[in-house]
Symmetry: C2
């Protein structure tokens, strides 16, 4: 939970209070601006942060470094949300609700960083994401074993759809912002789909 904003310009020296605040402000502004326009310039980011362009460069050596830091920050929160919500001591359905809600909370507000996290060059980020992904698959298998999911579903496809639903739900900005409603919608869709019981297509 401690504000630990990744590798900065200077090695590992602790930052003074004001500098720390500045870094935060920049990251938040970057998220906001880059979500709207992924090709936004340092200038625009600096402006959105209410800071001089040179200051941004002082904190993040290059544009790439800034985006990397942003991605690391969001990834850490994402992993924390998942780790905190998944537990074998709780019924899968409850876990599903909890983890969905927690992930939504992170993804709203860090959408840009989360989206590009999957295709990051940073090995550390890739590692964390792969871990979360594996944890997700593990959970889905448990849900299958418990009878929450049908036994004939492909776990990988199910996981991809789950991710896609979450992604879809976080679109449209703050318009449909009630986390609990969204969570219910996602879980409901994931489990039941949209069809009636009567007209079901039978797989091969």
């Amino acid at each position: 939970m401690t504000a630990q904003h990744e590798r900065l310009r200077i090695g590992g020296k602790p930052l003074r209070a004001d500098a720390e605040r500045t870094v935060h402000t920049i990251l938040e502004a970057a998220e906001r601006v880059l979500l709207v326009d992924p090709t936004a310039t340092m200038e625009q980011i600096a402006e959105a942060a209410g800071v001089a362009r040179t200051t941004v460069h002082r904190r993040f050596a290059t544009r790439e470094a800034l985006i990397d830091a942003l991605t690391r920050w969001a990834t850490a929160q994402f992993a924390a949300a998942v780790d905190g919500a998944v537990s074998d001591a709780v019924p899968p359905l409850v876990v599903l609700y909890r983890v969905t809600a927690d992930v939504l909370r992170v993804k709203i507000g860090w959408g840009f960083a989360m989206d590009r996290a999957g295709s990051s060059a940073d090995p550390e980020i890739s590692r964390v994401h792969a871990e979360v992904l594996a944890e997700c698959d593990r959970f889905l298998r448990r849900a299958q074993a418990t009878g929450l999911l049908r036994s004939d579903v492909d776990i990988v496809w199910a996981r991809r759809c789950y991710y896609a639903l979450i992604h879809e739900a976080t679109k449209g900005g703050t318009a449909d912002a009630d986390i609990d409603t969204l969570t219910t919608l996602i879980v409901d869709t994931l489990l039941r789909g949209f069809g009636t019981a009567a007209a079901q297509s039978t797989g091969s």
Copy 2:
């Protein structure tokens, strides 16, 4: 079906055969390159097309014009696919299969252009997409009336999920390329979701 590649550099004059081929080659190359890296340069596109950079500029005045043409091209195919598959004279489930398969065919191979089509500045493109969207909603309502979809589902959310599923299915390049399998997977997921009949979360 005629090759009608949008507004080019010069007004409306018909192109010579070789020029026509070049335009095609460039559009295809652009799709391929931009899918991998949306910030790819004219140089990279030209190279991928096996053409000089100046030739690209001769055909498309600006980078934006090129992307616009690409988007128009893909959008036209998309609309044609949907229009050709949707019919009130056929049971909704059959339409669902047909339209899904046809759209998949377009979206595989024109993924970049299709993705950015939604947020295009060109009013013509927006119009066509809005039309398709409306047609989709109309179809979903019919499916609901027929009893294919539950009567309590939100049409807009259902449509968004349908789009998202198609999008998800076209990820990963040519790996999982069997259209019919993908179509079945999508329709099945859309209608049934992943849960068992036993453990269903009941909406509010």
